[in-house]
Amino acid sequence: MNRFQKFHQSVVVPYLWLMPALIFLLVIVFLPVAVSLILSFYRFTGYELNIFNKFVGIYNFKFLFHQRYFWISLRNTFYFVGSMTFIQTTISLFLAIIIFFGNFKYSSLIRMLIFFPGVLAPVSVSLAWRKILEQDGLINQILHTSYPWLSNVNLAIWCVIFVNIWQWVGYNLVIFYAGLEGINKELLEAADIDGANWTQKIFKIVIPFLRPTIFLNALLNLIGSFRAFDIVYVLTGGGPAHNSEVFTTLMYYYSFAPNGPSKMGVGAALAFVMFLAIIAFGIVRIKLLKEQKV
């Protein structure tokens, strides 16, 4: 085998197999992300032919940080992402343990029912809940009240959080359940013989065993909820008066919304902020993925 053949075999052939996917990723993902970072230093509305015309330095960032909405959306994103990471993970872990140890006759049916909202379009889910949370909606009918859940300045974001947990709790549950199936049964039986009670078994055996799965679920929720858009957009539209806006919806408002200010540069700046906020967690996720492979 001469040098050329060797090069052909060890470089050209494998890269030919990778090429189509790599080109796609480069053009659709990496290039746009890089360009987006650059665009955050330009001012443009989306209608001009050359968007790299007006370099404005850090003007977009200054503008953004002076907006009250930015700080509201930061707070809401924090609530939203925090709730998914901690509350949703805890609820689903709790449910998984109950179902796993509960000896339910219809265990897989129960899991399927709780998982079901996860396959629905967030748009369908949000529209359904919007009707249910309305002033003459189901919740108020049951409670005999007429509370404006979605148009209360402080409550709106928590309604979004509730609906999001409602939709995705089964997703974490299914992952936890799969994790629980790998638990060491002898250990639990030995604990039984030693007369350990349930609190002890759950906190001393089950939860330590599930620690990697808990971490995985929390991380998945964190990264996933950071991207969530549909649910806020449809449920509250970021309202009332931008009080339930999160980063993603605020970015849409600045860049694309028909009734928005068409400040795409500010939108790009916000995308930059999001990118920075999420990248550390993304790296942890990649590390995890690499660890169980290779």
Partner: protein, 294 residues
């Protein structure tokens, strides 16, 4: 639904407290999960004059399918897009992007699993790094790429990003599956003088049907319900996918009659419900695998 008593699970006599507690928790959870969907379904079946009359909020006094007929007509009259067209659009966008994404990922996975070459793990890290990227960070440049390619408001405008953003998860799953295929099978083929491409097509792919199906389900969930790209890149009503069109029917400025509103939601829920019921095992194993591996 096998009924089996797990030795490490709870026993009715011994753990009576936990037994009752677990039943109560699961009953409440299932009611909270199912009640909203059943309520929307129930409203969608009510006649105009019994819309607000029902037993236990769920059982209608008089049943009609008129709301569904009205919803079809309403969409046609007010949105320039019928339900048939929006589902056709969704099927095209989802079907084409899943197919291409899986083919490209299978190529790439074959490259990763079958060759040793320089930069292999670096490239692989780069591919899964996409998990760390919020889609919003690529949104603005993608909009201009689409515009300058002249494909804004065509199916391609969403198909390309769908492919780009689903390749990583598909590659992750397929690579790990391809690597589990026993070396003996590959070596036997090599001895017979089979080319790389024949090996890929005749040996690897047929053996990988379950992994490909899992991938298909996962990518289907990601793309079928996708909203943000479709909202921004498909502004022409005729080619809008169902989440965008639905958000406009039920979330638009006009006050939509309650019957049509709920029927529209159900029209988008029922197809996925049927698919879910048929493939539920695949959905759950797909999500579990996707979470652990992807």
């Amino acid at each position: 639904m096998k009924s089996k008593t797990l030795s490490y699970g709870i026993r009715k006599q011994r753990d009576f407290g936990f037994y009752i507690f677990s039943r109560i928790v699961i009953v409440i959870t299932i009611v909270v999960i199912l009640f909203p969907i059943l309520y929307i379904f129930s409203v969608s079946l009510r006649t105009k004059d019994t819309l607000y009359k029902s037993k236990f909020y769920l059982i209608p006094e008089a049943i009609t399918y008129q709301n569904y007929v009205d919803a079809f007509n309403y969409a046609k009259a007010h949105l320039d897009v019928s339900f048939f067209e929006m589902f056709r659009n969704s099927i095209i966008c989802t079907g084409v992007s899943i197919t291409i994404a899986i083919i490209l990922s299978a190529f790439a996975s074959f490259g990763f699993s079958n060759f040793r070459f320089r930069g292999k793990e670096l490239i692989y890290t780069l591919i899964i790094a996409t998990f760390a990227v919020p889609v919003q960070a690529s949104l603005i440049p993608l909009f201009f790429i689409n515009r300058d390619l002249g494909i804004l408001n065509t199916y391609l405008a969403v198909i390309l990003p769908y492919i780009g953003f689903t390749i990583p998860i598909a590659t992750l799953i397929l690579r790990s599956f391809f690597e589990q295929i026993p070396v003996e099978i590959k070596e036997a083929a090599r001895v017979d003088g089979v080319s790389n491409f024949q090996m890929f097509l005749k040996i690897i792919l047929p053996l990988s049907k379950p992994a490909i199906a899992t991938c298909g389900i996962l990518l289907f969930l990601e793309t079928w319900n996708e909203f943000l790209f479709a909202l921004i890149f498909l502004q022409n009503p005729k080619i809008q996918t169902f989440p965008v069109a639905l958000a406009k029917i039920a979330g638009g400025k006009y006050l939509v009659p309650l019957g049509i509103y709920t029927a529209s939601i159900m029209i988008t829920v029922i197809p996925i419900l049927i698919i879910f019921l048929i493939f539920q095992k695949w959905f759950i194993s797909g999500v579990t695998l996707g979470a652990i591996k992807g």
